[in-house]
C-alpha cells in the first residue's frame, strides 16, 4: 500500500511548489507584517489583533492616492500616503487605548481593523475605494491598467523573460516584486535589530516585562508604546503595499481578520522576540500550507484517499486544520517557536 502511494506521488512537484511559495511574494509580505507585529507583541508586549488594519491602511492609502491622481498621481507620493495613513491608524488606536490595560488595546485593534475593512467596502465610498470591487476599477483591470504598472513595468530593471528552473521559474514582474519584498524584510529586520540593541530597545523590553517598573524608573511608558505601535504599524503597512503591487489590485477580501491570525501564526511559529523568527516563521508557514495542500490533492486525485473521506474541494480547509494541529504540537514541544530563545520561553511570567 505504501509503495503504491509513493508511486503515485510526484515528489518533485510536491517540494517544488512548497519551496516556490515559501520564497515567494506572499511569504515576503507575511514576514514583513510579522516583523511589525514582532515589535508590537514580541518586544513591547502589545496585543495587536489588528495587524491587517495597518496592511489595509498602507494598501488603500497608496491605491486611493494613485487612482485619484492626487498631486499628479506619483507612485512615490502614493506610497508615502499609504504609510501616513498607517501612522494615523496607529495614533487613532494608540492615543485612546494605550493608557488603559493591555486587553483594551487588543479589543480596539480588532475593532479598527473591521471598521476599516467594512468602510472600504461600503457603497458610500464607492468612488474612492471602489467598494466591494476594490481598486483599480473593473474597466481598468480588464484593460490591464494598474497602479502596480509603474513598479512592475516602468521601474523594473529586470528584462522581460523567465528566470530560474524547475518549479522555481519566475517571470520578470514576480521576480522584481520578490526582490523588493525580501529587501524590505531585510531592511525592517535590520532596523528592529538596531533598535533592540540600543537603550531604547531596553526600555521597550522592560515595558513588556512590567510597565509599572519602567514607570517607576522614570520612563514615559505611554510615549514608548506609541512609538512602538507606529514603527511596527508602518512596517506592516509596507506588507500591504507590496502585496497590492504583487496582485495588481486591492480588495477588502485581502484584509479579512483571518490574515491577522495567519500573521500571528507566522510569528509564534518562528519565535516571537527574535530577529529571525518572522522570516523563518513565514517561510515555514507557507511551506507547510502548500506542501500539505499539494500532498492531499495528489492523494485524492490518485484515489489513495477515497472521495467519501475527503473531496478535493475540502482540501483548502483541511490544510488549515493541519496547520492548527502543528502549531498546537509546536507550542507543547517548542513554546519559544522555531528560532526563539528557549530560556526566555521557560520563564514563568507571573
Amino acid at each position: 500500500m505504501l509503495m503504491n502511494l509513493f508511486a503515485e506521488i510526484d515528489i518533485s512537484k510536491l517540494f517544488g511548489l512548497a519551496i516556490r511559495t515559501s520564497i515567494g511574494v506572499q511569504a515576503a509580505t507575511f514576514a514583513l507584517a510579522a516583523v511589525g507585529l514582532n515589535l508590537h507583541y514580541g518586544y513591547t508586549g502589545l496585543l495587536n489583533f489588528g495587524v491587517v488594519a495597518f496592511m489595509a491602511a498602507g494598501a488603500y492609502g497608496m491605491a486611493i492616492f494613485f487612482t485619484q491622481g492626487w498631486l499628479g498621481g506619483s507612485i512615490i507620493l502614493a506610497i508615502a500616503s499609504g504609510l501616513t495613513f498607517a501612522v494615523i491608524i496607529a495614533l487613532s488606536i494608540g492615543l485612546p487605548s494605550l493608557r488603559l490595560r493591555a486587553d483594551y488595546l487588543a479589543l480596539t485593534t480588532i475593532a479598527i481593523a473591521e471598521v476599516l475593512r467594512i468602510s472600504f467596502r461600503s457603497q458610500r465610498l464607492l468612488d474612492l475605494t471602489g467598494g466591494p470591487f476594490g481598486l483599480p476599477s473593473i474597466e481598468d483591470r480588464n484593460a490591464s491598467v494598474s497602479f502596480a504598472d509603474v513598479i512592475t513595468i516602468d521601474w523594473n530593471p529586470i528584462g522581460k523573460g523567465s528566470y530560474g528552473t524547475w518549479f522555481l521559474e519566475f517571470d520578470e514582474k514576480t521576480l522584481w516584486i520578490m526582490i523588493i519584498g525580501w529587501s524590505l524584510v531585510s531592511l525592517a529586520s535590520l532596523l528592529i535589530w538596531g533598535l533592540m540593541r540600543s537603550p531604547w530597545g531596553r526600555v521597550i523590553k522592560a515595558i513588556r516585562e512590567d510597565e509599572d517598573a519602567a514607570r517607576a524608573l522614570g520612563k514615559n511608558v505611554f510615549s514608548y508604546k506609541l512609538q512602538s505601535l507606529i514603527i511596527g504599524g508602518v512596517i506592516a503597512s509596507f506588507a500591504g503595499i507590496v502585496r497590492a503591487f504583487d496582485m495588481g489590485f486591492v480588495e477588502t477580501q485581502q484584509f479579512r481578520p483571518q490574515t491577522t491570525f495567519f500573521i500571528w501564526t507566522v510569528l509564534i511559529l518562528g519565535g516571537a522576540a527574535s530577529i529571525w523568527g518572522p522570516i523563518i516563521g513565514s517561510m515555514t508557514f507557507w511551506f507547510i500550507i502548500i506542501f500539505s495542500e499539494e500532498l492531499l490533492r495528489q492523494m485524492v486525485d490518485s484515489g489513495w484517499i477515497p472521495e467519501a473521506i475527503l473531496e478535493s474541494s475540502d482540501i483548502a480547509s483541511v490544510r488549515m486544520v493541519l496547520m492548527g494541529i502543528m502549531l498546537a504540537v509546536l507550542m507543547i514541544w517548542r513554546p519559544q517557536g522555531l528560532v526563539g530563545k528557549k530560556e526566555e520561553a521557560q520563564i514563568d511570567v507571573r
Binding site: R202, D210, A213, A216, E344, V349
Partner: protein, 288 residues
C-alpha cells in the same frame, strides 16, 4: 543608629504633623477614598531630609496607598505634596501633585514595590542599566546611532557593576532576573532604583519575604544609603527592623497619621499602643 540624625530630629515635637527643620517632602491634605472608605486622609506630614523614616500601621492603614499617591501611581481626590530637592532652599521646591509616575521619578524620588517588579526576561545587568536616568540612547532619535550613546553606556555600565558588587549580585550579572531568589530580587530592585541617584527612595516592604540573613544585609544597605545622603522612606511590618534602623517613625491608622516620633517616642506612645500595636506587641516592646 546614627546619633547626629536623631539629634536633628531631637527638637522635633513627636506629634502628628509636626514641623521638621529641613523637610525633603511635605504632604498637605491628601485624601483618597474608595467608595465610602477614606483610605488615606493625611492633613499634614513632613519627611526630614537625610533620615530613614518608616511608615508603620496595621493592614489597611493606607501606607501603600499613600506611597502610590505620592509617586503618581494613584490619583488623590484632593491634596498637594511638594518635593524639596535642595537642602534649606525653598526655591528648589517642586509641586508633585498631578505629575505622572515617570515625571516624579525623574525629579529624584524613586520607589520600589511590595511585590518585586524585577524584569524577569531581562538579565540582571540589563535591569540595572535600565535604572539610569537621562540616557541619550533611550530616545528614538539616537537609538540607531550608537556613537551618540556608547560613551554614556560605558559610564552607566561601570556604575552598575559597582552597585552589583555592593549588593553582592555580581555573580548573577548575566543571568535572567527570573532566576534570582526572592531576597535577591528585592536587592536588585533597590540597586536598580539607585542607578538614577535618587534624592529620596521609597521602599515598600523591602524585608517582606526575605530570609533573615539577607534582612541583615538589607538593613545595612539602607543605613549606608542614609549615610551617603539619600533620604529613605520605607514601609515595613518587621518591628525589629523598624526599631533598629529608623530615625523617625510615622504611624498610620485608618488613613490618618495618628502619631510620629523617634522609635522610643512611638513605642511609649499610648495612642499607638492602644490603637495599633495591641497588647501582645506592647508586651514585646517593653523589653526593647
Amino acid at each position: 543608629m546614627s546619633d547626629n540624625k536623631t539629634s536633628e530630629l531631637g527638637n522635633v515635637e513627636p506629634t502628628p504633623g509636626s514641623t521638621k527643620q529641613d523637610p525633603i517632602l511635605t504632604i498637605d491634605d491628601v485624601v483618597r477614598s474608595f467608595g465610602g472608605l477614606r483610605a488615606v486622609d493625611v492633613k499634614h506630614l513632613e519627611v526630614q531630609r537625610g533620615t530613614i523614616t518608616a511608615f508603620i500601621g496595621p493592614n489597611g492603614a493606607g501606607k501603600t496607598t499613600l506611597f502610590n499617591l505620592i509617586t503618581g501611581f494613584d490619583k488623590p481626590d484632593s491634596g498637594k505634596w511638594k518635593f524639596h530637592q535642595l537642602a534649606n532652599a525653598k526655591s528648589w521646591t517642586t509641586d508633585l501633585s498631578g505629575l505622572r509616575p515617570h515625571q516624579i521619578a525623574n525629579k529624584g524620588m524613586v520607589r520600589t514595590f511590595q511585590l518585586t517588579k524585577s524584569l524577569a526576561k531581562m538579565t540582571v545587568i540589563d535591569n540595572m542599566l535600565l535604572g539610569a536616568a537621562e540616557q541619550k540612547g533611550e530616545s528614538l532619535r539616537n537609538a540607531l546611532l550608537p556613537s551618540r550613546w556608547r560613551q554614556q553606556e560605558k559610564t552607566i555600565l561601570e556604575k552598575a557593576e559597582i552597585l552589583l558588587e555592593r549588593f553582592k549580585l555580581s555573580h548573577m550579572r548575566d543571568e535572567y532576573a527570573a532566576t534570582l531568589s526572592g531576597g535577591q530580587r528585592k536587592l536588585l530592585e533597590m540597586a536598580r532604583a539607585l542607578m538614577s541617584e535618587p534624592k529620596l527612595i521609597l521602599l515598600d516592604e523591602p524585608m517582606a519575604g526575605v530570609n533573615p540573613v539577607l534582612v541583615e544585609s538589607l538593613l545595612v544597605h539602607i543605613q549606608n544609603l542614609r549615610d551617603e545622603g539619600v533620604s529613605v522612606l520605607f514601609i515595613e511590618h518587621d518591628m525589629d527592623a523598624i526599631m533598629g534602623i529608623s530615625d523617625w517613625i510615622v504611624v498610620l491608622a485608618e488613613g490618618r497619621v495618628i502619631a510620629e516620633g523617634t522609635p522610643s517616642d512611638v513605642s511609649k506612645n499610648p495612642a499607638v499602643i492602644d490603637a495599633y500595636l495591641g497588647s501582645a506587641i506592647a508586651e514585646e516592646l517593653k523589653d526593647v
